[in-house]
Symmetry: D3
Subunit: 284 residues, 6 copies
């Protein structure tokens, strides 16, 4: 169950409203790297966490924090839109980025939301929940979270470098720091569960003796001329999960060319796919 406080987690201040930056900030709300994604991802992972209770607690705790991050960013978008043009006749010169402001705003931030934030990305695409990765396997979920916080921090850094507004830079440095923690937090949870060697390959509940082990630690090349694939840490030495030794090799087909049966009568295919057209004519 959840509770609220009308104040923000961290101050949000915009010194010089900039509608083009409002558009950019939308990516951190409704983009696939954004805060709705991590918020909902941690909630669904937590609500479905089976096994040790502490992971559920941690997931729901951080999910709760992320609502507050969406709130901060939604506030930042609204503040950046304060002076945005809402008419094609307004004085363009009054805008911080001369000459291209209306073009640079997501139209829906004007037409659909009345100069407020929306759950869309920087090109106006609504977030869709297929991006909520909650697999029922906690280690897999943690890798998804590390990835989400990595692209999330990349985005926050790009936004930080895009603006010179001191208020916005301050807010973003806070969010960047939280992403630092969250990257570390999910890696620490993985270590708490036993670390890479205990947990990989994910899922670790499948007996590796049954998989085709001759393909489990080989880096395969697919150069058309059979050249060996590019070498690196992945092509020799012990595997990262500690359960194999890397090797590498070019590939050759091991299977045959597939043969599907012809379409069935009545299946809506073309008669030429089933045999002679004249034959078909006779049948009907």
């Amino acid at each position: 169950m959840y509770f609220n406080d009308p104040r923000l987690q961290y101050p949000v201040r915009v010194d010089r409203p900039n509608p083009a930056f409002a558009r950019a900030l939308q990516q951190a709300i409704g983009g696939v790297e954004g805060e709705i994604r991590v918020c909902m991802q941690y909630f669904f992972q937590g609500w479905g966490a089976r096994g040790p209770k502490k992971y559920r607690d941690m997931l729901l705790t951080t999910a709760t924090e992320e609502i507050g991050h969406i709130e901060m960013l939604a506030t930042a978008v609204a503040l950046n839109l304060e002076n945005a043009p809402i008419s094609l006749q307004e004085e363009i010169a009054a805008d911080p980025i001369a000459g291209s402001v209306l073009s640079g705003v997501n139209m829906k931030n004007i037409l659909s939301s009345g100069l407020n934030a929306m759950p869309v990305d920087s090109d106006g695409i609504p977030f869709d929940m297929s991006h909520i990765y909650a697999s029922g396997n906690i280690a897999a979920d943690l890798t998804a979270n590390i990835a989400a916080e990595s692209t999330g921090r990349v985005l926050a850094v790009r936004l930080h470098n895009m603006t010179d507004d001191p208020g916005m830079k301050d807010m973003l440095q806070f969010l960047i720091a939280r992403d630092t923690m969250h990257q570390n937090q999910w890696m620490a949870a993985l270590e708490d569960m036993g670390g890479v060697q205990e947990n990989f390959p994910i899922p670790n509940s499948h007996p590796q003796s049954e998989e085709k082990s001759e393909f489990a630690y080989t880096y395969l090349g697919f150069d058309r001329a059979g050249a060996p694939p590019v070498q690196g840490r992945w092509s020799e030495g012990p595997s990262i999960d500690g359960k194999g030794v890397f090797s590498s090799a070019p590939s050759e087909p091991m299977g045959e060319e597939p043969m599907l049966s012809p379409p069935r009568m009545g299946g809506g295919a073309q008669s030429g796919q089933m045999g002679a057209k004249s034959l078909i004519d006779k049948i009907f």
Copy 2:
């Protein structure tokens, strides 16, 4: 540039066609954990790889392998649908899962594709390319790839455990082994780039001295009553990236309640939001 061979990478054999399993296999083609996703993700990461050339080569090599995996699974779906009912009047008793086969098939596998695979998931949802994570930051991309191969292997194991068809089990054990390698491969690439401590927090090109460092290694609790958050590896000891020390604390709001300005005249809001209705009436 790309080339083909009409044969499959690994043999695909279905001993007892099962339309319900065809439906399940669709998840491995067009699901967010599926092969179209990793194929396209590695391609776009590779085509956009800036920096050391070897990562581009490795990404495009494995992307090329993944086309062959989609092909194997598409073949498996078609073979499992060989005897599927295409009429509501067909003898249901002839089916492997008595009584519920037509219900258990994605209708589109009958109506739209003529008993073939489609680029959709196990509930018939078409794959959408927003799931292709290619951030321009190679370390972030690698974490996305580790995550993708983790959920991918979880899915392959679930599919393996769902069927008792020997041919399908054999194919899946091959794909499971390749997922083992690919998890290790992307972790090895991260190690090749310097490992966790060199690369985290991602991006490592943002000077950490500028982020709000007091929040960068603190696990924050959001218990309404101020209880300390659940403790673990993430709340004390050195951080995983080696650049901080974990601590934990309950949270309090640091910001104020946001104040947005009232809607502007002509902005399509309600007059009651702007001030007295009677005032509005006077203005117009």
Copy 3:
């Protein structure tokens, strides 16, 4: 800013787990009538509320409640899936709905989430955030909320009538009661703002003297033979907003047939659309 408590808002109990009912409950989580929708809708409306502060407070308060409803339903889905088949070989007889259980489950609830809830509807479609209506006009938002709670309560009633599990019925009667309140709450907020006559037509900040008033209170018929349209409260008497008198009439075209200019040279159209092909040949 937001806080949590590990307990649920209201008890969730499943007496006889039923995977088919888990599928149905997904509609109340990720369907367009579901709880993610109202939760996110009230949050974005609240974060963007301009004008009297009390509406912002009320919106964020109820948004916060709705997170807890998603949590309750996610728990209910997981509990209903406790005994779901995860193999096509499992004994079907052990299931509450004999013969069709695996067919009746969303495959992704098995394959993608490990028998947990997902942010998808009852056919496995992920929720997408384009359904978050937050217009910047509070009265328009309130009508959207009345509508959302109306279809939401219809759904909850259908779910209630679909199950005979006492625990599930108890939980749903709680959610139905909350929907009763929320329908009333948004209507009360509209009354708080002055009621129907003060607020309609929405937006009330557009001077009605400027709209084409001869069409503003006329119910138009489009019967091909010019028959008068079906009569009712909408075709005579004072209008509901109190600003006009209803009438009705059949329609005739008032505009001309549109004439678009031919495609431009170099615009990728067919030469036959631009004029004679031979002419085109001469030009190039």
Copy 4:
């Protein structure tokens, strides 16, 4: 069954073509507040209307009108794009909004449709039919229609205020007037069915004695410190549906912390979620 007339319902005239305004008008075609939405919504509501025939007739009548509105807007978009640049080398100075025209146009209006309207919103997002609310409950449908016409009229007013083209203003004042009627029309239909007190809470066919009535008229607060929620018309006095009396109260959890069972063997979870890893090893 449907028929057409080549003329428009109302004249569409563009005095000074403006590609940026064409982009904005797209929102009224393919946005969630747009005409495709209401057209298809009324059609599906009408085709599925069960009960008194007059509501079906009215729904299909107005649905038919809305096709003509899409047609008018599509014409307006095409006319506004007449002089749009189709080359990055064209003289930008010749455009009505100097300096930013090509940036301000949806690229697809040039590249995909050849300077014509598309069924997309102002940011180029295609309309999707999940926005067609047709619940089988006529009162719920009417609330959805009131909401749709409210956001629709807000949008039309914003578009009207964005342009200074006399032809476009004239067309929009016609559409604004029709939205005035349609808001009133759907409210009148609700009154025709007995009004708010007869119909709410929707659905009125669920016996309210069975719902948890202690929660049916209480405005719940979720302030973390237990402060009472903001007061208003929704917290005291008779409820709007006339069936209860409003009250308000802070909330406390009534349920327990949920306990899900551990993942099952073979379900693709991590061994650490199921118990000791060493145990798992013994089992396989």
Copy 5:
């Protein structure tokens, strides 16, 4: 402008309601091969038709017909759902397809629409308008229409073969006949414009002398070993457009390996992509 008649274009009769067939029929409404698609495609092509007026007229005429087809199918879905189970406790034996009916129905046809048609496909996916191909090039549009009516008639035939209900078969044979006409109609319109040789390659307004003509009529093979590609009508003889002669050849790369510049400072990439980490440290 459009008009309606309350009667159907062709009688719709269901002799034995079958909810599973209702699900299948949804594909013909909201599937990509369905009637919403052709209806909206012809409307948008017509509204944007530039050039000879007769094509606009023909497109809008047939678009108008298609609304009536959606109406017929929506009626058929509702009639097939008349006796569908709405409770998990109802007698299953009363259903036409024993044992799997509820599983075989799209849940949303029960939960969201109250046993009515929805604008979704047979797996419950809402139609999205990105499938409306209206390119501004009439010949390209006609090829899209031929394709749409081809897959549409394949679908109608599959539906016809799936049912043994005489009423449904009668309706489908009408729709199949209309698809026969529409396939012919769009091919006839192409002939009306001058036929294949006049119109292909589409667009015919691009001077072929400028394209890389050595690749314009060559069937390229991509066999990894350089084997010649499979021969057929496409590899020798005059080209279908009459403007070239087919040949065939294996392919070799003509370009170089691409070299992208390293990521820029401040662009959020990894320092290892830009050069030495120590260098980066110095810069900041």
Copy 6:
């Protein structure tokens, strides 16, 4: 199975990087007319091709070519973005299109991909796989392919005409030539299967004697006043498939007004739809 070569199929050269053109090129990657679409369409058609093996071979061969086209375009996008602004403070004057560059770029090409290509269209919409038409009927698939290559070549021509960069024009003239071939190739494959008269109406395996033949070759008009529909090649003379003679006629309804039964008790409808409210009250 598939193989790669690190070189490009054809040289990609950008003489003057132009971020606005990068945005336009995205349509050729992730637009519905783009290369991902044809690539995946030909792959799925090929993997599911039942009947003569040569069509499978041809489809997979050309699918393999199309991967290389995506690669070329992805390279072109990255090269056009080389100098794109990544900050709202950068000198705008340094850009090729003064004054509107940042507005003219898809924000995600900066924020999400680090100045690289993405699988999205020119307005940033991700490609979704519902556009992969693979029907199991080869003739229907070929018509879909002709259509895809027609809109594809229209797009390529528009892109060619939009730019004056010699490198980009050279690459596009190569792609335009390949589209010329592919249009011809799919038409040739149709001829190889017997041509229009052998294959139409598609599917040709449905006995035409069973369809309602009186509607199979009649061009129907829907003018509200009963005017005859516009005449052309489609209204008289032999049909294109050679199996009928065209005629034309205005339409009249042949069906009745549909009568649906009232909603069922417990189905969540309004009591007014089922009968008297007082009756309902008695029942419960």
